[in-house]
């Protein structure tokens, strides 16, 4: 690791590679820096590479071209995931339940069981959650795709198999088949969820705008 002050050649190579939009060869660097000798550029690159070896950014050579890149052990910083726990909406829960009880099942079948139209997004959410998957196509006219539950679904809901799901009679005994006038509620909920999703996207934008605003203020 070089600790002494870098000389001007090194600084110039450093700045050039930093600002370049593409990796640069020794020759291109030499040319850019007013016709330096290749050997000098090579020495400079060598010393820069050593300097950056234990930093958060590395100087690397790929196919004779040099560029800076994030240290491999920090690559995870480039792509962060922010997890957010959300409760499944009632509409999505209904669809999931129908898939679980009737699988494999097509969207049209789900709709006919639910008695209401099902937003495309609802199935997407369930796929994203990893609880349902495509299970081929039904060999009927139109060959609709059919859905089935996954192992993850069983894990999440603590079921060892689909047979663990209570049957209709048990549901009745538990009073779960008592009519509830909730088709409207479910639809309402679906609409609300959609609205919320779009609001969240907006909020995100606003946050950013706010951040900008705050930063922009002159320290008068």
């Amino acid at each position: 690791m070089s600790t002494q002050q870098p000389d001007d050649t090194i600084r110039a190579i450093e700045a050039t590679l930093f600002a370049s939009e593409e990796p640069m060869s020794v020759e291109a660097l030499a040319g850019h820096l007013g016709g330096l000798e290749n050997a000098i550029v090579r020495d400079g690159l060598q010393s820069l590479q050593e300097h950056y070896a234990d930093r958060g950014v590395h100087l690397v050579e790929r196919g004779k071209r040099w560029h800076f890149e994030t240290a491999p052990d920090l690559a995870h910083l480039l792509r962060r995931e922010r997890e957010q726990v959300r409760r499944l909406s009632r509409a999505a829960t209904e669809v999931l339940a129908i898939v679980a009880y009737h699988e494999p099942v097509s969207r049209a079948e789900i709709e006919s069981i639910r008695g209401v139209q099902t937003a495309k997004g609802t199935l997407d959410v369930l796929m994203e959650a990893g609880w349902i998957k495509l299970a081929g196509r039904r060999e009927v006219p139109g060959r609709p795709v059919i859905y089935a539950t996954t192992q993850e679904f069983l894990d999440h809901f603590g079921l060892s198999s689909r047979r663990d799901l209570p049957g209709i009679d048990e549901l009745k005994a538990a009073g779960l088949l008592d009519p509830v006038d909730d088709a409207y509620d479910a639809l309402q909920e679906e609409a609300e969820a959609a609205m919320q999703a779009s609001q969240e996207a907006d909020d995100h934008d606003e946050d950013e705008a706010d951040a900008l605003e705050g930063l922009d203020e002159p320290a008068a």
Partner: protein
């Protein structure tokens, strides 16, 4: 600058190779150059500022009278060249001509605001504009991104993927299914059989009973004597309709003394 500061020579005559050709000193008598320069200036205060700077002195010490002279000289010259002058220029010229005359007149003949005040205000404005123009030049001369300073050419970029972790439980699942089932299950309505007296049988019964006597009979007397209450209700309704039908056919007459009172029926003798 000469002693009293109000009578200064045109600085153009000093020919001090100014950093730029001011309008008061048309470049080497080239008339067309004047016109081109005119385009570069946007208005009177701007032009005055340039004139002021050409005196190469601190604006605070500049002679407004000299400045006015130069400006008016410029306007005159431009007119001689038949240049079209913006109204701005002419308004300023008129105002400055007034200011000049005021500055030359004895003080006690003057009104408010005094020419000194006007001159001072003009000077203050020129100073402020000069300061801003200088600041602009310093700003533009800074090391600027994209010209002198560069940001990273190919940043990898940071991305934040928002991932939603969905949550639910088996009770919610089962409950949801139950509700779907409950909501969509075909509904069957059971209508249980109940004893009724049809209109036909009531008609037969009422006409038969009326044939026995010519006396008034209360409608309840036509009902089957030991009928259960529900059949009785039905018989009452049917018997009433039968009585109305018989009345319509002219076979019976109906009487009621008061609302909800006893209803009586009697055969009409034919």
């Amino acid at each position: 600058m000469n002693d009293d500061g109000l009578l200064i020579d045109m600085p153009g005559s000093t020919d001090d190779a100014s950093d730029w050709a001011g309008p008061a000193a048309p470049a080497k008598g080239d008339d067309s150059a004047l016109y081109l320069e005119l385009e570069g200036w946007e208005g009177p205060l701007d032009l005055l500022l340039d004139l002021a700077r050409r005196q190469k002195v601190d604006l605070r010490q500049i002679s407004i009278l000299a400045l006015v002279d130069q400006y008016l000289g410029y306007i005159e010259k431009a007119e001689a060249l038949r240049l079209e002058l913006a109204a701005d220029y002419l308004v300023m010229a008129a105002w400055l001509a007034y200011l000049k005359s005021a500055l030359l007149l004895p003080k006690d003949e003057q009104e408010d605001p005094s020419p000194e005040e006007l001159a001072l205000r003009l000077q203050l404005r020129l100073q402020r504009l000069g300061a801003m123009r200088e600041a602009a030049a310093r700003l533009m001369a800074r090391d600027r991104i994209g010209r002198d300073i560069f940001l990273r050419g190919a940043p990898e970029g940071l991305r934040i993927d928002r991932k939603t972790q969905w949550k639910s439980d088996s009770f919610a699942l089962i409950q949801a299914y139950g509700q779907v089932k409950a909501r969509t299950a075909p509904k069957i309505y059971h209508v249980s059989d109940r004893p009724v007296m049809t209109l036909e049988s009531a008609l037969d019964r009422v006409s038969a009973m009326l044939g026995l006597t010519l006396e008034w009979m209360e409608i309840r007397e036509f009902l089957p004597p030991h009928a259960e209450p529900r059949l009785r209700k039905s018989a009452l309704a049917s018997s009433f309709v039968a009585a109305l039908e018989l009345a319509r056919l002219g076979k019976a007459e109906i009487a009621q003394e008061e609302i909800f009172g006893e209803m009586r029926i009697r055969r009409i003798k034919q």
